[in-house]
């Protein structure tokens, strides 16, 4: 009886999935309409939404839009922009060589503040739900695991720090770097017999990093008039010390995510300081 019920459920679910699939495949095979279409074989930069982010001339585009309201959309690529070249361009609007970082942290920094808040709230909820969790004692780690954990821990942390310090130059950034460091904490939990959860310490580090993020935004508010403005000189594109507050914010995000995810892992390992 129960099996028949399951078969019927599976049949109807399969039917629904097939019908939805037909709709989806039909949708992506429709001929394109008369709107603005980006030719993906030979992309025209002026038809992209992100043209001003790529060319780093959002402020110039704002001025242009205020002056020529009617002709802006035809002349988007004619807005003045500096010539972007790695290692040579000085004081570009957002000095980071990695465009994704310049969008995530500089142009849409407020969005990232909200994202970090969502992560914080979810880890807070995890702590609330697992509050009564007793500390687990795993099977005694073997010699290989113990030695490997002790040997690899500093290198993993170093790699994580490298990833988030270079977030404005290379792929990666605060979130992946923080996750790498949290994986080092997980290795310690698995590899050390007498590992002690340090929840208070991680919470303090996390709060300080979050305060740094918000504080940098507030400094921009008081000096340049809007929240999370780049109030430092952005320097030469491609150097480690460049791009103003973008690099500082990504370091703060990296430390915050590392502490947050480590505390989440410790919470799952069994809360409490004992």
């Amino acid at each position: 009886m129960k099996n028949t019920q399951g078969m019927v459920n599976a049949f109807f679910a399969f039917l629904l999935v097939v019908i939805l699939g037909i709709f989806f495949f039909n949708a992506i095979n429709q001929p394109l309409g008369n709107g603005l279409v980006l030719n993906k074989d030979n992309p025209d930069l002026s038809k992209r939404v992100s043209i001003h982010y790529i060319l780093k001339n959002v402020h110039n585009a704002e001025d242009y839009l205020a002056q020529h309201k009617s002709s802006y959309f035809r002349n988007r690529d004619k807005v003045k922009s500096s010539n972007l070249e790695f290692g040579k361009t000085k004081n570009a609007e957002s000095g980071s060589a990695n465009e994704v970082t310049s969008i995530v942290v500089n142009y849409r920094g407020f969005d990232t503040l909200g994202e970090v808040t969502v992560l914080f709230i979810s880890i807070l909820g995890l702590g609330m739900l697992l509050h009564e969790n007793k500390k687990k004692y795993w099977a005694k780690p073997s010699l290989i695991v113990r030695t490997g954990a002790n040997f690899l821990f500093p290198f993993i942390v170093l790699f994580g720090v490298y990833v988030f310090v270079h977030g404005h130059l290379t792929p990666g950034g605060g979130f992946p770097g923080g996750t790498i460091i949290a994986s080092a904490a997980l290795l310690l939990i698995l590899g050390l017999k007498d590992f002690k959860n340090k929840l208070t310490m991680t919470k303090i580090i996390e709060s300080l990093a979050g305060l740094t993020f918000a504080g940098l935004g507030l400094v921009g508010l008081f000096t340049n008039g809007s929240f999370l403005t780049n109030f430092l000189p952005s320097g030469t594109m491609g150097l480690l010390v460049s791009s103003g507050i973008t690099a500082l914010i990504y370091i703060a995000v990296g430390i915050k995510v590392a502490a947050e995810l480590s505390s989440g892992i410790m919470e799952m390992n069994g809360g409490g300081e004992e």
Binding site: F14, F25, I28, L84, T112, L119
Partner: protein, 118 residues
Amino acid sequence: MIQSTFFYTTAIILFLIGLYGVLTKRNVIKTIITLTIMETAVNLFLVTIGYVKNGTAPIFTSTISDVHKFVDPLPQALVLTSIVIGLGTTALMLSLAIRLYKKYKTLNYLEMDGEDEK
């Protein structure tokens, strides 16, 4: 264009697999896994929208400085946000699963009955 279509197709198939799993599986952990598969499909779809033919990563290096060849950085930034929020929701779902298992000693929805525990 062929490559774009391939990725769109993969994203849709992954999404449908996830949907089928959510509808039929009766285990909390399996539901979480299938939800994660759906999330991955949506992320893949969004990244594919920003793809251009023979594109490079949107990062200036000493050899790459042709902005016309960059793939679109905007969907990538949105997907970064989406991945982080997905991580948060997955962590919450897993902790809820731990609580459910502690209370009912099973992970099957059909066997979770409030009256059994008394």
